[in-house]
């Protein structure tokens, strides 16, 4: 199968997972959507599980790569976080089914799948480390402050995706930004950044 067929197959598998649930997700329907033969499928994957895990890994790579690229640059750390967050929220709003696969349908399959979700969240921790340096109270901050910030954003995003309101997320960017920044900067400075972000938005 070529790269485009593979992409289509992996996406179709995640759509199956979201639409039908793990038990009823059909490799056959996903193959048909991607015009992939049984032989081509079997040459690449051992079965449904391997294909689903590959689909999830592929999706998480894209999400992390996009958010990380948007966080790069020489602007002050809060500005880069805002740009990366904005990009992530627009992607989630544009592809709500994939967001649901990312946050709920796949992690709920079994503990091994859930571990992938934990690993995904931990990949945002390095971006947050810069916040520790930026805070001015680096040494005093709790050891887990980076994951506390990532988890704060995740809780809001998860809640909106789960409630079928992913399209609202871009409008919520300033408040989510506040929640990410507040463990590093405190509420007053984080609120200033939130107001600037709201004005810019």
């Amino acid at each position: 199968m070529d790269a485009q067929q593979r992409d289509t197959l992996l996406r179709a598998m995640l759509e199956e997972l979201v639409g039908m649930g793990y038990g009823e997700a059909s490799v056959e329907r996903a193959r048909e959507a991607a015009e992939v033969s049984v032989a081509e499928f079997e040459a690449e994957f051992d079965g449904k599980d391997e294909c689903l895990f590959a689909a999830y890994d592929d999706l998480t790579e894209r999400v992390v790569a996009r958010a990380s690229a948007d966080c790069d640059g020489s602007d002050p750390w809060p500005d880069r976080v805002r740009v990366g967050l904005e990009s992530l929220l627009h992607a989630v709003a544009a592809y709500p089914e994939m967001a649901r696969a990312l946050t709920r349908s796949f992690p709920g399959i079994r503990p091994a799948a859930y571990e992938r979700y934990v690993a995904l969240l931990s990949r945002f921790v390095p971006v947050m480390r810069e916040g520790r340096e930026y805070s001015g109270v680096e040494e005093e901050l709790p050891g887990e402050v980076e994951l506390l910030a990532v988890g704060a954003a995740e809780a809001i995003i998860f809640g909106e995706v789960d409630a079928g309101r992913a399209e609202r997320l871009p409008q919520m960017m300033p408040e989510i930004l506040f929640s990410i920044l507040v463990p590093f900067m405190g509420p007053d400075r984080a609120a200033d950044e939130m107001r600037s972000a709201a004005t810019a938005a």
Binding site: P107, G108, R110, P142, L147, L148, A153, E154, G186
Partner: protein, 209 residues
Amino acid sequence: MLTTGNDVLTVPDRERILQAMADCCAENGYAETTVDTVLKRAGVEPESFDSHFASKEDCALAALNKIVSETLARISMTNPDAEGAVERRKYEGRAVLELMAARPTFARLGFIESRQGGTEPMHSAYASGVRVLALMMERLGRSGGSGLAARAALGGAEAVIRRELAAGRAARLPQLLPDFVYAVLVPFVGQGEALRQAKLAAKVATEEG
């Protein structure tokens, strides 16, 4: 509830089934847990399961209720001499973390399976619990953002809890009390005060009993 002789005899079965349900979900996830695997693990007969629960979901919800009831009981028994809402929350937090360390599979059922792996009624039970906790936190002080600030702060603490539970490190959770105290206070009381309270929480975490 009226307790008959027969009820007394079957109470241990119910407890064994609930423990087995939590353990099986932690090992295999709710979706792949079957009543059969729960029965085998609990070492009870199918008739006993049927006399207590209508279905697998009913059993999982009962396991969730059990951990919620134990949590509330622990909270009600925390340090009665602690002065002020913030001080009381520290002791309550410690009690909850110690319970999670003692019942890691039940904690996993509550924080992971019911959130991302279970059925809609399980998910609703999780969401209701989180809403109550977020409201309790909002009352701790001023908010620099909005009602979302409490939900987010709680979400930060939950992310750390879920990572530790998934990694089989529930025993470490009580040591993380200062981190959680900081996370839930910082949006409401300011950074300086949250750092001070986190330092005080480190003492609470190591206090006897």
